[in-house]
Symmetry: C2
Subunit: 336 residues, 2 copies
């Protein structure tokens, strides 16, 4: 635990100068909005202690180590995946109408839609610039990897938006959406350092596969927390995803595999009126009795095991493997 | 004239298969929205005759010819600049609240904000993928050029949004905004074919400079048409930019160089109430008497002359130079 937090703190420390240097290339307005969004400053530009955990950069640095290189080789990749992650948060918060992130007002809520759109656009474009500036052997391959992952990320988001209007979403579709929305960028994060280091394809593939498994495991647990998580952990009230009638993975499993209970749940989700507290609690019971919660947690465990196996089968230094596994465990279980 | 229209039609024809192949890589939803936005289909997916003039792709193909290469060498660049152009239109229409483009409803107006944001994001990311897929000597340099131009484009858009809230915009700032918003991508379009062809730096620089001049000349004339243009040419009612109290280039010149007339114009722009027809006509008179219209047209002429000179000083085949100049003239004067 402490080792993971140390490794995250070291990762954040290591990428800060490179992140700052990258953001220097933005126009002053976009840069100051990016600083606020990242939790580095308040709305007036005064430095703050905040900031995300920066798990993707930490994975990217470990990815370089997994290829036997210095962590610093992964630095442009660490910055680039963090930029793409934050591009997607800026646009998602706007599209979802979310007014808070990490207990602070979101950018669109305080600066308007145009600021969220343009700052997101600028961070996405900057991510490619950071990689293409590199002169190492893997710079171009890393840029390709990130562009592919970005397309996958957007595809997942498109499916997520489309699912809101549909009542017949299958479990495979739902897993495919999560693989795009959450898995693609985590997979790019765990692979990009090795790509920058010019690692052999089997090592890159193992790391990318591990990241994709990690992404799905994270999403499965996140969806369970979205229903049963305590506010202290999730920052949201209990049952919040059900209150928003989100067709998350446990809910979709319950509907498609839960027989009569699943049909009752599907009817509940299709009701036009907003559900009361008692009704939401009943729906959560339906998801649980229909096996949605158990399946999601079992499936998360299976994904983590599959990911671990990929790392164990690959020629990766033991220390880097251990750190990747510890960090993955931390990300999925959120033992913060 | 006919030659230019032929060249544009040929350019559109030449890039269609490559554009289609690129868009195949998008998820089906984003792809169908991109088809609609590009004017290739109606809202139900039925093919239509529409579509933009695709001047940027035509410039990119001529750019390869200017470097002594086959136009097809510029093809990935032609597709990429058209994708970035349309990414920016999708996001701009949403941010500006514009409900019509080319006499059809805009994407956000018919499919919602999320569709416009995500399809724009997908086209931006795809543009980089198209260039990085190339294996020619200039593919990476072209990807860098496009990422830089995209950052400049976004910077210009950020300034444009910021200027709406300010009453003290200087002429240099306004020219700098136009250089970003309009000049950067046209400059990338006129240079990217040569970059893909591996042309010597002086040729690339001359072409990039020519495109930047063309971009400013275009914006100056566009701003004049935004005030005095006939609806038949612009698709907008006469005085529309003044009615929206847009601080365009001729208006900013008039305010900053027009003495008492300029001050009267500035006061008019700062009034809180929406102006009546007579009042708008009076304001147009102020811009004209303060020299804003004449300056804008003179400055457009000077920029075009400067751009022409750059092409004449560079080692470029005569035919490519002539076609670039004809196309530039067409773009600026819109003799369609």
């Amino acid at each position: 635990m402490t080792a993971v937090l140390d490794s995250l703190a070291q990762g954040r420390q290591a990428i800060m100068p490179a992140m700052r240097a990258a953001l220097e290339r933005l126009d002053p307005t976009s840069r100051s909005i990016a600083y606020y969004h990242l939790g580095w400053t308040d709305l007036d530009g005064n430095p703050t202690d905040g900031g995300g955990k920066a798990v993707r950069p930490a994975l990217a640095l470990l990815s370089a180590e997994a290829a036997g290189a210095e962590p610093s080789v992964g630095l442009p990749g660490a910055v680039a995946v963090e930029l793409v992650h934050n591009f997607s948060l800026l646009h998602d918060d706007l599209m979802d109408g979310d007014t808070e992130r990490r207990h602070r007002p979101t950018v669109w809520a305080v600066r308007g839609a145009a600021s969220a759109i343009l700052t997101g656009d600028a961070m996405l474009s900057l991510a490619q610039e950071v990689l293409l500036d590199g002169d190492g052997p893997g710079a171009v391959a890393a840029a390709r990897l990130l562009a592919d992952a970005t397309n996958e990320l957007i595809r997942g988001q498109v499916l997520d938006v489309a699912f809101e209007q549909r009542n017949d979403v299958g479990l495979d579709e739902c897993l495919d959406m999560a693989a795009g929305k959450t898995g693609a960028l985590l997979s790019a994060s765990t692979a990009i350092g090795a790509v920058l280091a010019g690692a052999p394809q089997p090592v890159v593939d193992a790391l990318a596969g591990f990241g994709a498994d990690l992404g799905l495991a994270f999403q499965l647990v996140d969806d369970v927390l979205g229903i049963w998580g305590e506010a202290a952990v999730t920052g949201k009230p209990v049952f919040s995803d059900l209150r928003a009638r989100k067709k998350s993975l446990p809910v979709t499993y319950a509907i498609t595999h839960g027989g009569a209970l699943g049909r009752e749940l599907a009817e509940w989700l299709a009701r036009p009126e907003a559900p009361g507290e008692e009704s939401v609690r009943h729906a959560a019971g339906l998801v649980e009795q229909a096996g949605g919660r158990k399946w999601a947690l079992d499936e998360a465990y299976r994904r983590m095991a599959a990911g671990r196996q990929k790392l164990e089968d690959a020629r990766i230094p033991d220390r880097a493997r251990e750190e990747l596994l510890s960090l993955a465990q931390f990300i999925v279980t959120r033992e913060a």
